[in-house]
């Protein structure tokens, strides 16, 4: 198993890829996942985070097998 990290919209373009696969370290949070996956960039202030397709905060724990997504403010409708 591993953790799937996904990026959407302008954030995907900024990161330069749509997806990463990370090994779980047993003590991850959503914010920690960003720091490990995109070490060259600070997590943007207004980023939205979803864990397994539900909104979550940066300090929410992440477990092996989870899908963590990062994306900018939504602009649908």
């Amino acid at each position: 198993m591993s953790i799937t990290v996904r990026y959407f919209a302008s954030l995907r373009e900024r990161v330069g890829r749509a997806e990463d696969q990370l090994d779980a370290d047993g003590n991850d949070t959503a914010g920690g996942i960003w720091a490990r996956a995109v070490p060259e960039q600070a997590m943007p202030d207004r980023v939205l985070i979803a864990i397994n397709q539900e909104y979550a905060d940066a300090d929410h724990p992440v477990r092996d097998g989870d899908e963590v997504a990062f994306f900018p403010p939504v602009t649908g409708g």
Partner: protein, 144 residues
Amino acid sequence: MSVSLHPEPFDPWARLAAHQAQLPAGSFGATAVFVGTMRDFNEGDDVRGMTLEHYPGMTEKHLEGIVAEARSRWPLDDCLIAHRVGPIEPGDPIVLTAVWSAHRKAAFEACRYLMEELKHRAPFWKRETLKDGQVRWVEKNTEG
């Protein structure tokens, strides 16, 4: 209850007619509807086209959650949300929300609630192509 994403143009009035035909006639008294349509201008610029990105899986799940929340807050007979994804042209409908209820207060309030929740939380992102060919991500949603 129906939530659907449309990669192709859809006709909101035909969609409403088809959906309502499935409901028992005489059971509902009030239908409130909102349709968001792509304009050919935004923030002062002429816009030629748009692409709507979404998060497959989460988007549908989130819209279904909004509908469930509306049904827990108001006495509703039925709800409908339809949303375009992919490439869109000016004049195309982007979003349709509709609510059927016994009374107009519940219908109006729930329909507006669906739209506000969708606008603020549903994972969709707009990328515009301007008349001069420049492409930009829409950063701020249209005001309520």
